[in-house]
């Protein structure tokens, strides 16, 4: 295995949870809902996914449980912000704190339990192709799911009618409502999708990335996923680029440190954030700096009766 291939494989592992989380959040935000509860939903996915996988002995049951846990968490958020028109920022922050605490309780009996990593794909012939074989045909199911999600979300938002309606809700919920679209129902579905993706990203952490449970193990990845959505200016392909750029620099700086490059490690640790922000800002500027945030993002909608 060459060094290039080794680095590539590690970058894929580091980027996948960010990508899965961010793409779900993107759909949610395009419908006009800002859910800052990402970290809480993600870690609930990690806790419930690991617990279910241990109890059932099957990783796929764990994945399913993680998705459901993420959706359940987002449902709480939906009840607060859609049902009661509560402030989205405050509700999201509360959800993050709640998720971090609750996941600790759920995961407590599973501290110190271990599971083997989920199996990776192996296609005889294809996986053995030098350099790109393992990267393209030797990944775990999550990696393929993350790419499928990006393609699916891009197609949905850009090419399908329901996607356009969802975007309309995010741009101007009053107009969407006036045209007869069920704004709250659409937003509920978008929130649930975001929650499900966050749960899936959490499952990746506790079933593949570091296959054990430990409280607080998301270590801020939910917040990074949120930031990637913003800096990707709410575009699916840029989310892909942002997640991989962030993951890539994270891994490269670790390699640089190991190789003894004489740069302060604190600067190295900050590098992924700096580079990702810079790159995405430059992309945005080159496109003429158009206004990119969904216009109704974060504003509660109360239909008149």
């Amino acid at each position: 295995m060459t060094m290039f291939e080794a680095i590539l494989l590690t970058i894929i592992t580091a980027s996948t949870p960010l990508l899965i989380g961010a793409i779900g959040q993107l759909v949610c935000e395009r419908s006009g809902v800002l859910n800052l509860g990402m970290e809480g939903m993600m870690i609930m996915g990690a806790a419930c996914g690991f617990a279910a996988a241990i109890l059932s002995g099957n990783s796929y049951v764990g994945v399913l449980a993680a998705i459901l846990a993420g959706m359940a968490m987002s449902l709480i958020f939906a009840v607060l912000t859609l049902g009661l028109a509560a402030n989205q920022v405050a509700s999201g922050l509360a959800l993050s704190i709640f998720g971090l605490g609750l996941s600790g309780v759920i995961g407590a009996p599973f501290v110190g339990a271990k599971r083997d990593q989920m199996a990776k794909l192996y296609l005889p012939g294809l996986t053995d192709i030098p350099v790109i074989g393992k990267a393209l045909f030797g990944q775990d199911p999550f990696v393929y799911a993350s790419f499928a999600l990006v393609i699916g979300v891009w197609w949905f938002l850009a090419r399908s009618k329901p996607g356009l309606v969802l975007r309309a809700c995010g741009e101007n919920h009053a107009s969407a409502h006036a045209l007869g679209y069920p704004v709250l129902k659409i937003r509920l579905l978008a929130i649930l999708f975001g929650g499900g993706c966050a749960g899936l990203a959490g499952a990746y952490l506790s079933l593949v990335y570091t296959p054990f449970w430990s409280p607080g193990m998301t270590a801020g990845r939910g917040w990074i996923a949120l930031a990637i959505v913003v800096f990707a200016s709410w575009r699916p392909w840029r989310v892909l680029a942002g997640a991989y750029l962030f993951g890539g620099i994270t891994i490269l700086q670790l390699h640089a440190q190991g190789a003894g490059v004489k740069v302060p490690s604190q600067f190295m640790a900050a590098l992924p954030y700096l580079v990702t922000i810079l790159a995405l800002v430059i992309i945005m500027r080159r496109r003429g700096g158009q206004k990119t945030a969904p216009a109704s993002l974060g504003t509660p909608f109360v239909p008149d009766r």
Partner: protein
């Protein structure tokens, strides 16, 4: 007038505080309240877990004579608030269990003169602040010896948390041990800039293994690096607790912490009124930590490791005997000398032969 919730809470804690202050005479009759502040989650399966094991041991031994409270995953800049809160609730002995908490402990201690603080690692004591730590470097020396025996690539990978003396002298000691077997041993270091971030710890291990390291030392708190070593077919050491089960094929030994006996001793001192600020730095012979049974090693390697472990424990071998030469070539400790405890605790340089950037 508007009263928000925070004001009510403040009022309530003030009342509670006044109540405790008003009846110091009863303090002796009541159980001694002992507070523990952890830097990580209790379930990190490492550093904080083992402090909590110590807390439970304290409860077990002392029974109704003590009442303990643990606050987990406390951020460094929040520690003073947590300590003040614990003091107001009547805790008279507070263990602040991280080097990161040392400065906040020194700031808050003078404001709470009736509370005895115990800081796990630090650089100085105060009238109501004791220091306690274990000489983990003794275990690191043994790790170095084992690593030199196990490594085929002659390269150790070290995942370090922060460039503090505790970590720097540990890296030096690992190499001292490794060089005692094979002077051609090399080390690569990655700073994770976190005590606890399983994902990044694992990524660091991946990077080190990809660069040819085949024995991984972790100076962070989760079992992630060891587990990854197991997956990749290289070797590693457990940190803070016995991590054998996370890596049945990769685990060589773990440094297993044991704080319980110390906690019992200090609680008894407070109850007896004999508590004095102290500075305890217990080695392998103190029982503050031990090495988990050696696994995945040949019988010869095991007996060598045991011999060296026992030599250090009995004082026949000292990992900081001179000569010690800094990376820049200057002599830190001349031949025949030995680094003092203060020198070890302030160590901010790598030895000559360790080609690693030390973040300033």
């Amino acid at each position: 007038m508007q009263i928000n919730r925070r004001q009510i809470l403040q009022g309530a804690t003030a009342l509670a505080g006044a109540a405790t202050l008003g009846q110091p005479a009863f303090a002796q009759a009541n159980p001694l309240q002992v507070g523990f502040i952890y830097v990580g989650p209790v379930g990190d399966f490492g550093w904080s877990t083992m402090h909590d094991v110590g807390r439970k041991r304290l409860e077990e031994v002392m029974g109704a004579a003590v009442k303990t409270t643990a606050v987990e995953a406390v951020a460094t800049n929040d520690m003073e608030r947590v300590a003040t809160q614990l003091a107001r609730q009547g805790h008279r002995l507070i263990f602040t269990t991280s080097f990161s908490f040392f400065q906040p402990t020194m700031r808050v201690a003078p404001t709470l003169p009736n509370v005895f603080f115990e800081s796990a690692t630090g650089t100085q004591t105060a009238p109501n602040v004791s220091l306690y730590n274990a000489r983990f470097y003794e275990g690191r020396y043994v790790q170095g010896v084992i690593a030199a025996r196990k490594s085929k690539t002659k390269t150790i990978g070290y995942i370090a948390a922060f460039p503090v003396p505790e970590v720097v002298h540990a890296i030096n000691t690992v190499m001292r041990g490794a060089w005692s077997v094979d002077p051609s041993m090399k080390i690569r270091v990655v700073w994770a800039n976190a005590w606890f971030n399983p994902g990044r710890e694992a990524d660091a291990a991946r990077a080190l293994i990809d660069q040819g390291c085949d024995v991984i030392c972790a100076h962070t708190d989760s079992p992630a690096p060891l587990q990854l070593a197991n997956e990749r077919g290289v070797f590693g050491f457990g940190q803070a607790s016995d991590m054998t089960r996370f890596a049945p094929r990769a685990h060589l030994t773990s440094s297993v912490n044991n704080w319980g006996d110390y906690y019992v001793e200090r609680a008894k001192a407070v109850i007896a009124g004999t508590w004095q600020p102290g500075d305890v730095w217990g080695g392998l012979n103190s029982g503050m930590f031990r090495l988990a049974p050696f696994t995945n090693m040949s019988p010869e390697d095991v007996s060598e490791a045991e011999r060296i472990r026992d030599a250090i424990a009995t004082g026949r071998l000292h990992p900081f005997d001179g000569p010690i030469t800094r990376a820049d070539g200057t002599v830190a400790v001349p031949a025949g000398g030995r680094a003092t405890d203060d020198q070890i605790r302030a160590m901010n340089y790598f030895y000559r032969g360790i080609d690693v950037a030390l973040p300033s």
